[in-house]
Symmetry: C2
DNA sequence: GCGGTGTTGCAAGTGATTTGCATTTAACAC
DNA sequence: GTGTTAAATGCAAATCACTTGCAACACCGC
């Protein structure tokens, strides 16, 4: 596991438990954002079964530490992906099969200044997701 | 109520029931996106009480007809706003007080072509929301 | 090894949204 | 108007995605 992750955990007063390591291993092995239930299922398959509540608690904590990013695709459940070593980016999901593709782009930086000037908010984050039909479902 | 809405309902084989009219009246009287529970509460206050399930069923149906747009702000519940007569736009929500402000802009049109070329998806929609701190919560 | 603090499992609890079904109601044709 | 029928509603129960309380357990620094 990456040193930076261990450092962040330590800095946050968190312990490097075995269940936690297993969760991070699953997250790091996945290029696309996964749900808590998916993490839970893959853990079981990898003979690292643990309670779903533990998965949820860890995902929440990793998010608070800024180690994973939440991805909301209006599926009724959240997805998560590790931030470690990856550029800020967005996603597109097929309305037919649910397939998700990374979009390694973000057009929002310039816009943020405009939004701040217009609303007087201090912008801290944004969510940009596309929906459509993938080639197979077209 | 707007003719265009009545026409859409008719075209979809839907009836113009009294509960449905009341829901549409609430939606049209709200500039900002509202939750199903909020619609339900305002209906009761307007002496048009109905079951929450009816509110949900109608919001889903109106969304399918393209008369209302869903707005997902990661609050654990969806919001909805009427599309009728309003430009496509996005929102910013304060992380402190939850206040929502309309952003009458959308920078996504040009980007859509880029996304389609890159992924071969047929883009049908997108979601863009900002999060931050409003002047009072700063 | 020991102690203290953070973690986990398990079971129960929430909150939002959905569903089954019997009962109405709007819409349309006589 | 009256009848017919498909859609809509109320009510209660069910689902689904998380969250929480609490007792047992596992890191980590000493
Ligand atoms: Mn991604
Ligand atoms: Mn709006
Ligand atoms: Zn971005
Ligand atoms: Zn847009």
């Amino acid at each position: 596991m990456a040193d930076s992750i261990v450092d962040s955990l330590k800095a946050g007063g968190k312990k490097l438990t075995k269940p936690r390591q297993a969760i991070l291993a699953i997250l790091e092995s996945n290029a696309l954002p996964v749900t808590a239930a998916e993490v839970h299922a893959r853990l079981k398959k990898a003979h690292a079964h643990m309670d779903l509540a533990t998965v949820y608690r860890n995902l929440t904590m990793l998010q608070e530490l800024g180690l994973v990013d939440p991805v909301g695709l209006r599926e009724g459940q959240m997805r998560y992906e590790v931030r470690h070593g990856r550029e800020h980016h967005h996603h597109i999901q097929c309305r037919g099969c649910g397939r998700i593709v990374d979009l390694m782009l973000c057009p929002i930086k310039k816009l943020t200044e405009l939004v701040e000037a217009q609303t007087k908010f201090a912008v801290e984050g944004h969510s940009l997701e596309f929906f459509g039909w993938c080639p197979q479902c077209r």
